[in-house]
């Protein structure tokens, strides 16, 4: 369980996190979503006590992170930025981490096996590929067998096999009853892994919701109908409280009702339908709609500018 209350972080003139309040419940994968520069990494640094909040507070299992003597047993974190000295071997990196929290040496071997790094454990971490580096970071997070796991952009730069591995790992960790909190700027990835979503933009909370609820509220969801008797159908639907817009002579764009209801009205009134289709906005579109205007770094042609980290 992670609880943030009014969390605020200001760096000089930049307000990176702005009165953010949210709860990350156990037993679920909670996605932390936002465009580049939205404040996701900063929020995670605040949770870990690496940065001090300007205002507000955040607790992990009811206690500030810095209050734990053996925090690795409480929270396992994979940060987006590098946290490994390239001159040290993977084994030795995990070894000093384990020693610092009184974790046994056998646990180091165990997590190395779990992430599939046993064969390269004695090699210098500086020579690792991006994927191997991510695996080492995840091994470090799992070291203390913590109840809370927090991963910042875990799939960034991974090949499809690595992405699949992380997805399954996250789900199995949540299934074990752990609190799993992952950040991403990719809605498509979150749609596959997350049960809940916390969406932020420019440091502010935009939505704290489930994927279903998120899609239901989308403004672009509609039903499309083609009928030779479009005028009559439009009148009936409006009478039933649906929103109807004429598109051309025989096409209607209907909102505020279901396709089942439209079909039923048409049948009971003897109207011919040539097309009846429900159009649901994709998560990606919904996400763009929500975060529109809150992306910090966007190129003029609408492409995402490179992340700043």
């Amino acid at each position: 369980m992670i609880e943030a209350i009014g969390l605020t972080k200001r760096y000089g003139a930049t307000l990176a996190v702005d009165e953010l309040s949210f709860t990350v419940p156990p037993g679920q994968v909670t996605g932390f979503l936002g465009p580049n520069g939205a404040g996701k990494s900063t929020t995670m640094r605040l949770i870990l006590g690496l940065d001090a909040p300007t205002a507000g507070s955040v607790t992990v299992n009811g206690k500030p992170y810095t209050g734990y003597r053996r925090p690795l047993l409480e929270v396992g974190a994979l940060l987006e930025a590098k946290t490994v000295h390239g001159g040290r071997s993977a084994y030795n990196h995990l070894k000093w981490l384990a020693l610092s929290n009184g974790i046994s040496g056998s646990r180091v071997e165990q997590v190395l096996g779990q992430v599939g790094l046993r064969t390269v454990a004695r090699k210098r971490a500086g020579g690792f590929s991006l994927g191997m580096g991510q695996r080492l970071g995840i091994a470090a997070a799992l070291l203390g067998d913590p109840k809370v796991l927090m991963f910042d952009e875990p799939v960034n730069g991974l090949d499809p096999e690595g992405v699949l591995w992380i997805r399954n790992l996250l789900k199995s960790l949540a299934a074990e009853g752990r609190t799993v909190f992952i950040s991403s700027h990719l809605m498509s990835e979150m749609a596959l892994t997350a049960d809940r979503l916390i969406i932020i933009g420019r440091g502010r909370l935009i939505a704290d919701t489930t994927i279903e609820d998120l899609l239901q509220g989308a403004s672009g969801n509609h039903i499309r109908v083609r009928s030779p008797e479009a005028g009559e159908l439009a009148r009936l639907l409006t009478a039933h409280g649906a929103g109807v817009a004429r598109q051309g002579s025989d096409t209607l764009r209907i909102t505020g009702t279901t396709s089942d209801a439209v079909g039923e009205i048409a049948r009971s009134n003897g109207l011919t339908l040539r097309e009846l289709s429900a159009h649901q906005v994709s998560l990606e579109d919904r996400y763009m709609e929500l975060t529109n205007g809150s992306a910090d770094y966007r190129a003029a042609d609408g492409e995402h500018a490179p992340a700043r980290n």
Binding site: P71, L73, E74, V84, H85, G87, N92, W96, L97, G102
Partner: protein, 269 residues
């Protein structure tokens, strides 16, 4: 939840401190820079002593021999080893900032002053052991290789044992000065530059001062003060006594560390 709760409550502050010490020692011995810094220190202390014994000891005039402090001459390698150990001290903390590893460290041990205290303890122990051992090695090397009966100094002679041990103490303190500057400046290049500046610039600046000022300030400059501990006999009256000088030198290191301790709790990592 129950298991971790128990683990947290039965984990005493002493156990925590010992584990952080072991962790810092593990860090220190698992990077190459430590090996190279210590190797350089030992090699220069012993190597320079051997070179001086071979090439210099036989060529000094009687007058020169009378005014030469044997231990100070023997420990000529300190000119190099002090830089090696000082840089090691800087890297012990600043390499964590430059590689981003500090985030892992402070996530594992959120009590930041405990981290710095453990680093201080581990670095002090290692640099004192290596410093004192290599200082003795230099002394015995020089005495074994010097030509004829010139420049002999027995450990029982006045000040000799203290000065030989002092060479190691001097290295221990300079390592701590480096650590303090590393904690303050955090960027390795900047901290190393600052360390070299603190070591070598003050004498250059004091040369620009009027003579009376030089006499007043000179003995208190970092290396002038610290250097007295590895001189067996005091020839220059305008210097501090050995232990006083070492004390002043320690104050410089303590000041740097104190600022580092203050800053580490007040800055974002």
């Amino acid at each position: 939840m129950d298991i971790t709760a128990t683990a947290e409550t039965t984990y005493s502050p002493l156990t925590a401190a010992v584990n952080v010490l072991r962790s810092e020692y593990c860090k220190l011995r698992t990077v190459r820079s430590t090996f190279w810094a210590l190797f350089t220190a030992v090699a220069s202390n012993v190597g320079v002593a051997a070179l001086l014994a071979i090439f210099v000891s036989g060529r000094l005039t009687a007058n020169q021999k009378a005014t030469t402090d044997v231990v100070r001459l023997t420990l000529g390698g300190l000119h190099i080893s002090q830089v090696a150990i000082g840089v090691l001290g800087v890297l012990v903390i600043s390499s964590e900032y430059s590689t981003g590893m500090i985030r892992a460290t402070l996530s594992a041990v959120p009590r930041r002053r405990l981290v710095l205290a453990a680093k201080t303890a581990v670095l002090t122990a290692v640099s004192l052991v290596i410093g004192i051992a290599s200082s003795f090695a230099a002394y015995f090397t020089f005495q074994a290789m010097r030509s004829g009966n010139s420049l002999s100094a027995a450990l029982g002679d006045p000040g000799v044992l203290r000065a030989v041990v002092g060479g190691g103490l001097y290295l221990g303190v300079i390592g701590l000065l480096g650590l303090g500057l590393g904690a303050i400046i955090r960027a390795p290049a900047g901290a190393i530059a600052a360390l070299l500046g603190v070591m070598f610039v003050p004498p250059l600046l004091s040369d620009l001062l009027p003579n009376s000022w030089q006499t007043a300030i000179g003995p208190y400059l970092p290396l002038n003060a610290g250097g007295q501990i590895y001189i067996a006999s005091r020839f220059d009256p305008n210097t501090l006594a050995p232990w006083t000088g070492l004390g002043v030198f320690c104050l410089y290191a303590a000041a740097a560390l104190a600022i580092g301790v203050f800053l580490i709790n007040h800055r974002d990592a």
